[in-house]
Symmetry: C2
DNA sequence: TTTATATATGAATATGTGCTCATATATGTT
DNA sequence: AACATATATGAGCACATATTCATATATAAA
């Protein structure tokens, strides 16, 4: 009786999809920079572009991606849209990873 | 004086690279399944392939990827290589994400 | 309504990624 | 040495992804 009798529990499809999508969002340097910036301050699209030296178009495309995953939200003020973080759990994952990367 | 005078601290290149690489490793369903399986048990390449219904070649390629990032390690026993987890921090990120995905 | 400004979007392109097939390598056995 | 088994690796392909350019849309001001 030295065998391991516990049968391995596969991850179900849905969990696998959600988890992989979440990490995919965090796997691109541009999206990481945008999320990290928004973690400090609510920002307009043009502010993000300026702070991070990115094309306005690039920022818009990535914000759409992040908005679809409900990682960010926005409020309108005139023609300006202010984006902010909408998923604290994902920000926790990001901050943990940044902290870990810096400390070893 | 309603401005925010705190100057934004950019993420440095190296941190950005490490963090994005880490999340990239966790962004693919196949790699997630392999890591999750290894989180339960040390496994040989062929055991992984069988348990997860993957081609041996696919498993080997992904293990090389994970080994390069030092997320897994292996020990040899004859012609068989037993792989296991080598980065508990990344497993913590994975388990947190799985837990979160299942609970909302 | 015309004009200006902020943002979004579609198409094109270049690059990256994951899988499979065929084959190489490494270890052990006879 | 010849053979069997386990794993690794390179090439090719199909598909995904990030960026840029050009342009559309939306709101506000004149």
């Amino acid at each position: 009786m030295t065998e391991n009798n516990k049968k391995y529990e596969q991850l179900d499809e849905e969990t696998l999809f959600i988890v992989s999508q979440t990490f995919k969002a965090l796997s691109d340097p541009t999206r990481i920079r945008i999320l990290h910036l928004l973690g400090e301050n609510e920002c307009s699209v043009s502010e993000i572009a300026e702070q991070l030296s990115l094309m306005q178009s690039t920022v818009s495309h990535q914000l759409r991606f992040l908005k679809n995953l409900r990682l960010v939200k926005f409020r309108r003020s005139g023609t300006t849209l202010f984006y902010s973080i909408d998923d604290e759990h994902v920000m926790t994952l990001l901050h943990q990873s940044i902290h870990h990367a810096r400390h070893d």
